[in-house]
């Protein structure tokens, strides 16, 4: 991969830092009136998801990271690996480890399209779409007529996630859920 100098840093650029691929979020230039300039760079470590700040002398460079973010449809799991397929018509499949799946495992549903981050052609992160529609597999029976009252109860969804839902929701209903907050949005 090419090397990138601090003055080529921009939001979205993927670079290697301490052995991990990172995405640059912000790059700010810090310089006394006269003298050595520095770049204060905010990066997200793509392996851990952690955001941190690092300082570089202006003109220093980092190796680029061979990172791609691709849309992929979830196919199935054999319990060991999770299989995804590219949606660009190539039908190329990727096997994803549990570690790369992270918290997204509770939002998995066949045929839904996820964003899979590849580093050196290996999946390192899977992100769920912001909203997903899932069926309620288990919850206490709905309270008839109680459509306006407050109050909530837990419901287990087909993907395994447990979310708080209004009391009127019944087993078998399909719900729209925000995967970023894990909150119920509406009936689908």
């Amino acid at each position: 991969m090419a090397n990138y100098s601090t003055n080529e840093f921009k939001g979205g650029l993927k670079v290697m830092l301490d052995g991990d691929p990172c995405a640059i979020l912000e790059n700010d230039y810090v310089k006394p009136g006269k003298g050595q300039a520095f770049n204060r760079v905010k990066l997200r470590n793509l392996m851990t998801g952690r955001v941190g700040e690092r300082t570089f002398k202006s003109g220093d460079s980092l190796e680029g990271a061979d990172v791609l973010e691709l849309d992929m449809e979830y196919l199935y799991t054999d319990g060991d690996m999770w299989y995804f397929m590219q949606t660009d018509g190539s039908f190329e499949q990727y096997a994803v480890e549990k570690k790369a799946l992270g918290d997204t495992d509770k939002w998995l549903k066949e045929q839904v399209v996820y964003t899979v981050t590849l580093w050196d052609d290996k999946a390192i992160v899977v992100s769920a779409p912001n909203f997903i529609e899932l069926e309620v597999t288990e919850t206490d029976p709905g309270l008839k007529g109680d459509t306006a009252q407050g109050g909530s109860k837990p419901a287990t969804l087909s993907s395994g996630a447990v979310v708080r839902v209004p009391l009127f929701i019944n087993q078998g209903e399909v719900l729209k859920v925000d995967t970023r907050t894990g909150e119920y949005v509406s009936r689908a």
Binding site: D28, V30, K31, K34, G35, Q36, T55
Partner: protein, 324 residues
């Protein structure tokens, strides 16, 4: 739909900016400092190792020549002074490659002025007066502090005497980067920009004086009254953690100037940076005689940013580079 054709500043802000430009011009008119305009493209550029100059090739009466986009109007303005201009000011569009961020833009407006016969103290007072005139609210008192004092107060060390190993360790710790090979000035610059600067100018206008002699740029040097250490006769003015102005007791010695240009280009070669054509006409002007005096460069966009309480220089520029 894309909105990136829109200005980076609101129209109301640009109106305010126009009003403040008027204030600046009135300030200098009242003081008998007249406005000049000098070239953006010159045959020489700034050799300063810490500045990256852009150059281009263009047709001139001499054929196709390499011209440098000026990083400040300094050289041309000094040639006017040598030609007998007397006190002058300019609001000059200046270009510095690589300077990108909330308080920087590739091109910006430099307010630069020169005062033949005025000493640094007099110029500091005038700079503070200009800053007050542009800021709508009273910024509070002007406090002059020596570079050395600041390092003692904020870091408990003497920037001139602290061994290099100690400086490198502290700079690495405060900046969170490897400074093991860093030269002395880079360590001091880091500590100044990361630790000290953000704390300056919150109760008034802080003016820093007596920089290390190695950071003199185009300023004279004098001996520190405390222990005879050489220091640079220059100052910087700060408000709310922002460096606003950089003033010099101007170097007038052509030989000294030539030596500093050569040192800069030697350092550029050593660091693998492109060499910059020296402005031989500036050297000739210095040989002919530059009147003793002081001069200051002020980042006008930053001052306007503070005056209008905006978060970045882009918000007071019609079109910051990303939308230019």
């Amino acid at each position: 739909m894309t909105v990136d054709w829109q200005p980076t500043a609101e129209i109301a802000t640009l109106h305010e900016r126009a009003r403040l430009l008027g204030e600046v011009r009135a300030f200098f008119a009242e003081r008998g400092v007249w406005e000049v305009e000098t070239p953006v493209l010159g045959h020489g550029g700034s050799t300063d190792v810490q500045l990256a100059s852009l150059s281009c090739e263009a047709a001139t009466p001499a054929g196709r020549e390499r011209l440098w986009l000026q990083t400040s109007p300094e050289f041309h303005m000094k040639r006017l002074l040598a030609a007998g201009s007397g006190p002058i000011f300019q609001i000059a569009r200046s270009v510095r490659d690589g300077e990108v961020g909330g308080r920087h833009n590739l091109e910006f407006s430099m307010l630069e002025w020169y005062r033949p016969g005025l000493d640094l103290e007099g110029l500091i007072a005038e700079t503070a007066a200009l800053i007050r005139r542009v800021l709508s609210s009273d910024p509070g008192p002007v406090r002059c502090r020596r570079y050395r004092e600041l390092f003692r107060d904020y870091l408990a060390l003497d920037p001139f005497r602290e061994p290099l190993t100690g400086l490198r360790r502290l700079a690495a710790e405060r900046g969170g980067l490897d400074m093991a090979q860093a030269p002395r000035d880079a360590c001091l610059d880091l500590l100044m920009s990361f630790v000290i600067e953000p704390q300056l100018g919150w109760e008034g206008i802080d003016v820093v004086q007596d920089y290390p002699a190695s950071q003199a740029a185009l300023a004279r040097r004098h001996r520190d009254p405390e222990d005879g250490e050489w220091v640079a006769s220059r100052f910087e003015a700060y408000r709310q953690g922002l460096e606003l102005a950089n003033g010099y007791d101007e170097l007038t010695d052509a030989e000294e100037q030539r030596a500093r240009f050569d040192e800069d280009n030697a350092e550029r070669r050593a660091q693998g940076l492109p060499e910059v054509d020296v402005d031989r006409r500036l050297l000739a002007a210095l040989e002919a005689g530059l009147p003793a005096g002081s001069g200051v460069a002020l980042g006008l966009d930053r001052l306007i940013q503070l005056a209008l309480a905006k978060a970045s220089v882009a918000e007071v520029m019609a079109f910051a580079t990303p939308r230019a």
